[in-house]
């Protein structure tokens, strides 16, 4: 994204290419009349991302910026087609479902995770993302289950603080 903003056509192409499947899944999951609708919306959203790219603040997570644009385009589309449908205000950001975890979402997550020590990072990833049990994750990190629990708790607390701080 930053590469694209600096005028790097290659980086921008790659970024848009990553967004495409993410947007596709996003609109797909909010089922429409047919695939043409979904593809149209993907194109609309991609064009909006391109046209409005200067409105992304480098301090904000890229994902929330992209999905806010996608949601706006979705609501706009529903308004135009006159179909009344429930659109959740707070989106359950699709993580693994959409297969974009290597892209924008991963970037934001990594940035957030990098604010806690390495061992806590590993614990959070193992338990919260990869689905290991506390005991297994503790063993991987060289900790007893109890120590792992305390450490994980601290890490989650620190992360929560980080996320809430940004709201100001």
């Amino acid at each position: 994204m930053i590469g694209g903003l600096d005028g790097d056509t290659r980086a921008w192409r790659e970024f848009l290419g990553l967004l495409r499947p993410a947007f596709h899944a996003y609109f797909k999951r909010r089922q429409f009349h047919g695939d043409t609708d979904v593809e149209d919306l993907v194109q609309e959203a991609l064009m909006a991302v391109h046209a409005k790219r200067e409105t992304w603040r480098r301090a904000d997570p890229v994902t929330s910026w992209c999905y806010t644009i996608a949601r706006y385009k979705l609501i706009d589309h529903l308004r135009k087609t006159g179909r009344v449908r429930f659109v959740p205000m707070i989106d359950d950001l699709p993580l693994e479902v959409d297969g974009v975890e290597d892209g924008a979402v991963r970037h934001d997550l990594d940035r957030l995770l990098s604010s806690v020590p390495a061992r806590q990072q590993a614990l959070v990833k193992d338990v919260k993302l990869s689905g290991y049990s506390l005991a297994e994750a503790g063993e991987r990190a060289g900790l007893s289950e109890g120590a792992a629990r305390v450490s994980l708790h601290r890490a989650m607390k620190a992360l929560m603080n980080r996320v809430t701080d940004r709201e100001t």
Binding site: R53, R57, T168
Partner: protein, 218 residues
């Protein structure tokens, strides 16, 4: 608006080819320039229609004059900040909202303090001043000059809530107009400014909301 190539890959290629360096904080600098131009334009309009105030140089350090300017410009600043935040998807809006609320509380405190120091008859005098019938109308009218400048900047943003963004853009235009009108106005009480200036700014905000609903869509 349907794109010419229906193939998404082609679209991405075409968009990517259009990547150009974009300076950081471009929306903010554009808004600042537009607000500056609006300030100049409204001041010129006040100068030409209402005429220069002969004693302008004498009153610039009066508390009443300073209060008007500080009030109008801080509202313009915070509302502009809010407009920017609303127009940048995913950006938090708490800061500017707290700022606007803070200014409102300060001004109301000032009014309360002024009113407690006055007796019944002069209270009404402080409230109505010499020109209460004109003030809000003039601020509202002058804001029409500022509105195009502010909306030019707002158009380039991406507000998820266009009406709300239009409202804050209208508040900016109104506050800029209030600042320009404050160069001419000879009222000296905080109560007057807090009431009639605010009313004019609010009217501009409502016009902006109506406008934003239509022209801030993207």
């Amino acid at each position: 608006m349907k794109p010419e190539p229906l193939n998404t890959e082609d679209l991405i290629d075409r968009l990517a080819a259009g990547a150009r360096p974009i300076p950081e904080h471009r929306p903010a600098s554009r808004a600042a320039v537009c607000a500056g131009l609006a300030l100049v334009a409204t001041a010129v309009v006040v100068w030409m229609t209402l005429g220069p105030r002969p004693d302008l140089m004498l009153v610039v350090d009066e508390p009443a004059f300073l209060l008007r300017q500080v009030y109008a410009l801080s509202i313009a600043g915070f509302a502009g900040w809010l407009m920017l935040r609303l127009g940048q998807p995913g950006a938090p809006v708490r800061g500017p909202v707290i700022g606007l609320g803070g200014v409102a509380v300060l001004v109301m405190g000032l009014v309360a303090w002024e009113q407690t120091g006055l007796d019944g008859a002069s209270r009404l005098g402080a409230f109505l001043g010499q020109s209460w019938t004109q003030c809000s109308l003039r601020v509202g009218a002058i804001s029409l000059v500022a509105t195009p400048f502010i909306f030019f900047a707002a158009r380039r943003l991406a507000p998820a809530r266009p009406t709300l963004a239009g409202f804050s853009a209208g508040i900016v235009a109104g506050a800029v107009a209030a600042s320009a009108y404050g160069l001419y106005c000879a009222e000296i009480t905080a109560t007057f400014v807090a009431t009639w200036y605010s009313l004019g700014i609010l009217a501009s905000g409502l016009m902006g909301a109506a406008l934003g609903r239509w022209i801030l869509r993207w």
